[in-house]
Structure formats: structure tokens, C-alpha cells
Amino acid sequence: MARTRSLLGLEHLTADEITHLLKLARTMQLRKPRPLLRGKRIALLFYESSTRTRVSFEFAAKLLGAHTALISATASSIEKGESLVDTGKTLQALGADCIVVRHPSSGAPNVLARNLHIPIINAGDGMHEHPTQGLLDAFTMLRHKKPLKGLRVIMVGDIQHSRVVRSNVHLLAKFGASITLCGPLELLPETAASLSPAIKITRHIQEAVRKADVVMMLRIQKERLAGLKLDVGKYIADYQLTAERLRLAKPGALLMHPGPMIRGMEIQSELADGHQSVVEEQVQNGVYVRMAVLATCLGAL
């Protein structure tokens, strides 16, 4: 982080850099927020719809005293055909001190970082990474389960299209967790295992859930299926998390979901509100983690 100050992904961060961010997030959670970013301008550049990530970045920035401006693809010159690079240069010229970007193209934040001199924070790019989600997931796990080393984390569902999975895998692997990915071949290609030696792949949810410490369920990203036809009935039968299946996990296992959740699809509705679910806590923690990331990337510490 000290090198670039942009946060493009978790793949290239060290365990120490991640630990530092998580500790800072914990400080943000415990202490009354200080105006570390007073007078700073943060552009929230959103090419894709978002509820959680956008509002949480906005609240995080405001809690630290920064101004924010939201630029969305449909209500800006992007609609008129302005390129990503030109949009970024415009925001920089307008005095933005940092750009938080959400984009459907993998690598879009890298394009901005290559062309601008202000820090770029990746708020989710295509199927690549969602680093602040990876951080908030680890933060949430650590509130309940310590240490990450040896923790059995499983992720079930649409792995192929998930930037959350990639960020989580990079982070968890650096801390020695054991990771099991589970899903049908169309949504979980064998090459997924090349992401990290810590990964195991299984096609059977029962096998994946057995003895898990953390069960992370994923939404099927219908906006990214690109023509892929999926038998929904069969998917539910094979991969939906049910109470019965969750019982195979360790007692006290955490149930996580990055949202948005489709109740009755990847997860039985009651489970989402059950005592093992930390879905809302994940959302809350997102604010602290993003405060830590903004403060660090903007050099306010």
C-alpha cells in the first residue's frame, strides 16, 4: 500500500498490509470517528448498480469528514460516450483526491491507476476483485473465529463470475486458511484451483459443508452468465443451503453472504435470518473497513 496507495485488489498485498488495514478498521469501529479526511474530495464512480458498497463508501467518507460526489453511468457524460480514461481525468481535474470505482469490466481500476496520479480504490471490477469485500469478510470472521490460520472456509455457488471469491481466496490463502470451493462445472471451472494451492474443489455441497467453520454462499450472477443456461430447479436441489445441510458444518459455524441475496435460490430464507447468519454484521463492518481503506489510501494517517 505504501508503494502505490491505490487499492486495486488483494492479490498483491502482503499479509502485513492486510493486518494493518484490519487493525485500523477495528480502531474505526471502537473509537468515535475523527475528521481525518476533512476537506478531501472523494469521487464515487459507479458504472454498475450497488446498494451496500456505494452507501458504505459514502458513509465511511463522510464519517471521516470528506466530501463525496456520486457519478453513475446513466446520469453523466459516460452516457454520451466519454471514455473511462477521460472520465477519470475529468474527475482528477475537478479536484478529486481519490476515485472509488465500481465497473463491469475486470481491470477497469487498473486502467484508471495507470492514467491518473490520484489513488484509485476498487469497489468491485467485473469478475476480478472486490478487495474491500474481502477485507470486511475477513474482519467479520475474525470477530468470531481466530485465527484465520487453519480455518475451514467454504464458498458455494457461482465461483466463476465472483470477484468476491477471488478477493477472499487471495486474502485467506495469505493467512493459511483452508478453502473449499463448491459448485457445478459451468460455474466452477477446474482452473479455479490455480488461484491458490490452498484451494480444494468439490461438486457436492454436503462434502463441502462438512466440518466447515465458515459457509459463504454466493448469488448466481445472472448479469454475467453471457448466454449460459442454467437449470434453476436442479441448481436449487444440488446447491441450495438448507438447514439440514448447514447442520453438517461445525457447531457455531458462521453463515456469510456478500449480498445481494436471493432468498429461496442459493439460500433458504430462514437461514439468512438465523442465529448463525452474520450477513447484517458483514454490512456494518463494511463501513469500518472502508474508513480504514480511505484513510490509508489518502495518506491521512
Partner: protein, 429 residues
């Protein structure tokens, strides 16, 4: 054509078509090779002399796959700039693909490309479109295209997928004795794919391109080549699976040839790194296994040619999200350096074979008579290079109008010193 006579002396000749290697002198006159003699034994006198001591002299290099972008996209390249770039890369002839705007699907456009007003620095041989507008539906008039100067037929940039169209194209071109060049890509399995399927694509969250998208088309086409006896040429072959099919076809003595690009023997999909759009091309960079298999194919003769697929794009077009950036890279000025650095210096492939891959075979595949050799009477197209010279390629200094090369700042071995086209010096370093 040059009125003057030019002699090239003291160089080391490599001319695989004549099976000649050694110290020879040449006299070039009226656009032809007038005399060839052991060093110091030339009888004729020349107005001008190039001293090529310590250099390799070979028949002019021929790139059978370039995109000159004219007509229609002169912000990327023109026939004038593209051919200057070619000369700087040691190429004295290029075959330009028909995916211009409009598509080169008529004799008028072919003739327009060949008009001296285009100010080409090297010989240009247009490839005519196989179908009208390269839309894959109606065949063009091959005979008329050939009469206008087209040397082959292709819908390059797009594949000819419809089996009946491919069969008719092979028959029609076969009757005229010219090849059908296929861009082998089953676009039904590459929709929205932007790089080779594999670990790097997964890591970057980019949509992957299966190798079967190429090999399935090549296998289908080879069947059709067997049926029709036409000459089938695979453009920019990139996979081990497709090469296997070509090898089998050659064993069966079918009229099947293929080319590969320098970038496919120089790099792998891992080089995409962190979304380097100058490593985005079609077909994409492949796995290390594919690359090694292609190098073996270059060495053992199952690959006929090296061709660059020179595909210039403006800087702003490449400076985009990876999935939005256009496919293609420039290649004319780095091809020989890459071939010598990687194939010769590293993989010990003899220079003779490299000259064969870049001159003799391309002439044979495209039916360019009198080229690809320096036998007396042949065209006075000559390339002179220093096979030992190390140099650094700076993309910004390229003569091509576009600078989209992944080889920027690469250290290369083997430098072009001169390109003589039709007896006239068109480039000298």
C-alpha cells in the same frame, strides 16, 4: 524500378530456395538479380555498392499477413506508413488483409490499393475477401480479384464458418491456383472472450477462449481441403491441437499450409500480466505448452511461415478497459529480431530455417514467383541484417503510425540494416 545498378558485396548469403549459403556478391539491375558470384568474382560493374561485410544477405523477407488499414482507418495506419514500417523490419513484400473499410471485396478496391498514389515502399500483394463484405454469405468474384492483383482469398478478422461457403471458396480458389486463408475461430464459443482460457484468465476475471475454437475449425477445413483439393492456409495458427491437425494433413499430402506469428512464439497468456492491452490479440496468447509445441513446429518444418498479423491501433483505442480494447498488435519492426533472439539464439534453430520461414516459404505459399530467392533473374528484393547485433526496440520510435507493441523496450538480437526493393534501397539503418 531503379535505372541504376546496385551491387551488394562481401555479405554472407543465405538462400534456402537455391540451397546456397556462403560468401557471395550480387549485381542488381533493372529490378532483377543480374549476377551472382562468389565474393570478389563479380564481373559486372555497378553504379553503387553496399558493403555487407559481416552481415547476412538474404532474399527479401515476405510478410503474408498484415493489416495496412487503408482504405478507411488511416488514423491507425496507411499503405505508405505500413510499408515504411515493413521496410524497416526487413520486409520487401507484404500481403495485406481485406478487412479495410470498405472491405476489399472488389477488383476496384484491390486496384486502388495497388495504385502508385498509395506510395508503398515495398511490394504490396492484396488478399481479396472471400465473401461480400466478409459477411460470410455470398462469394466474391475470385477470378476478377485475382486479375486485379489479389494473391489469395480470405475473410481474415472473421472466419468462414459456413461449411458450404468454405467448400465453394476452396474449389473456386483452387481452380485459380490461389490459397484460401482461414482465420480459424469458431465464434460460437468465443463470444465475449478476450484472452486464452486458463489460470491467467481466471485470475484476472476475464472470459476465456478455448483452444478448440481454433482446432475444431481447422479440422473441419482440412476435411474440406481433402474433398476439394484446394489450397488451405491457416492464418496465425496458435494452438498445439490445430498444429497436430495440420501435421496430419501434411502427412496425407494435402495442400495445407500454415503460419504463426512472432508473438505466439515469444509470449504466453501469462504475459497479459495486469491487463496489458498490448497483449490482447486474436487469436490470443496461449499456454506455455502451445508455445513450446509451436516452436517445435517451426523447427521441424511443419509450420511453413512466420507472419506478423501486424494490426495497428491508435493509442487511445488500446488505453481502455481490457474487454473494450481492440484485438491486435504491431509486428513488422520486431519480427526478425524476435525470430533471431528466440528461435535462433535461444532454441538453436539455424538462420537458414528462419530465412525459409520468412522469405522462401511465404513466396511459395502465396505463389509469388521470382521472390523468396536471389537466383539470377529473380526480383531484386534483398534484406541485409546483422544476426549478432543486440538492440533495444522503442515502440515510440516505430515507423508504423501506431505504437501498440508488447515488445516495447525489449532487448533483441538481430538487426535489419537494409531493405532493397526492386533494386532500390528502401531502408537503411
Amino acid at each position: 524500378m531503379a535505372r541504376q545498378t546496385l551491387s551488394i558485396r562481401n555479405g554472407f548469403l543465405i538462400d534456402p530456395a537455391q540451397r546456397l549459403e556462403g560468401k557471395y556478391d550480387f549485381l542488381l539491375k533493372d529490378g532483377r538479380v543480374a549476377e551472382l558470384a562468389p565474393a570478389g568474382k563479380l564481373r559486372g560493374r555497378a553504379d553503387e555498392t553496399i558493403n555487407a561485410r559481416g552481415m547476412v544477405v538474404c532474399p527479401g523477407l515476405i510478410d503474408i499477413h498484415v493489416h495496412l488499414r487503408e482504405p478507411g482507418q488511416q488514423h491507425k495506419e496507411s499503405i505508405a506508413t505500413g510499408t515504411r514500417s515493413a521496410a524497416a523490419g526487413g520486409f520487401t513484400s507484404v500481403c495485406c488483409m481485406p478487412n479495410t473499410l470498405p472491405v476489399n471485396d472488389t477488383p476496384e478496391i484491390t486496384r486502388w490499393m495497388l495504385d502508385p498514389a498509395r506510395e508503398a515502399s515495398v511490394n504490396v500483394f492484396p488478399v481479396g475477401a472471400a465473401t461480400v463484405g466478409s459477411m460470410g454469405r455470398t462469394l466474391t468474384d475470385f477470378a476478377a480479384l485475382k486479375r486485379a492483383g489479389a494473391v489469395a482469398i480470405s475473410d481474415d478478422g472473421k472466419p468462414i464458418l459456413e461449411e458450404s461457403i468454405m467448400r465453394q471458396a476452396l474449389m473456386g480458389a483452387g481452380r485459380l491456383g490461389i490459397p484460401v486463408i482461414q482465420h480459424a475461430e469458431d465464434t460460437r464459443c468465443t463470444e465475449s472472450a478476450v484472452m486464452n482460457a486458463g489460470p491467467t484468465a481466471f485470475r484476472l476475471g476475464l472470459r476465456g477462449w478455448p483452444t478448440e475454437a481454433e482446432s475444431a475449425v481447422v479440422e473441419r477445413d482440412i476435411q474440406l481441403a481433402a474433398e476439394t483439393k484446394g489450397h488451405y492456409h491457416v492464418a496465425h495458427l496458435s494452438t498445439a491441437a490445430a498444429l497436430k491437425a495440420v501435421r496430419k494433413a501434411k502427412r496425407e499430402r494435402l495442400r495445407v499450409t500454415c503460419e504463426i506469428t512472432p508473438h505466439h512464439f515469444a509470449m504466453t497468456d501469462e504475459d497479459v500480466g495486469e491487463y496489458n492491452t498490448n497483449c490482447k490479440m486474436n487469436p490470443p496468447l496461449r499456454s506455455a505448452f502451445d508455445r513450446e509445441t509451436l516452436i517445435a513446429g517451426l523447427s521441424d518444418g511443419s509450420i511453413d511461415c512466420i507472419a506478423t498479423d501486424h494490426a495497428p491501433h491508435a493509442a487511445n483505442e488500446k488505453n481502455q478497459e481490457f474487454d473494450r480494447a481492440p484485438f491486435g498488435i504491431t509486428g513488422l519492426e520486431t519480427a526478425l529480431g524476435l525470430a533471431i533472439s528466440i528461435l535462433h539464439a535461444k532454441h538453436k534453430i539455424p538462420l537458414r530455417r528462419i530465412v525459409e520461414l520468412m522469405s522462401a516459404n511465404p513466396a511459395r505459399v502465396m505463389g509469388l514467383t521470382g521472390r523468396g530467392t536471389l537466383a539470377v533473374g529473380s526480383q531484386a528484393d534483398v534484406t541485409i541484417f546483422d544476426p549478432a547485433k543486440k538492440w533495444t526496440y522503442h515502440a515510440q520510435q516505430a515507423l508504423s503510425k501506431s505504437k501498440n507493441s508488447p515488445f516495447d523496450e525489449w532487448q533483441l538480437q538481430g538487426k535489419v540494416l537494409a531493405a532493397v526493393v526492386g533494386g532500390s534501397l528502401k531502408f537503411s539503418a
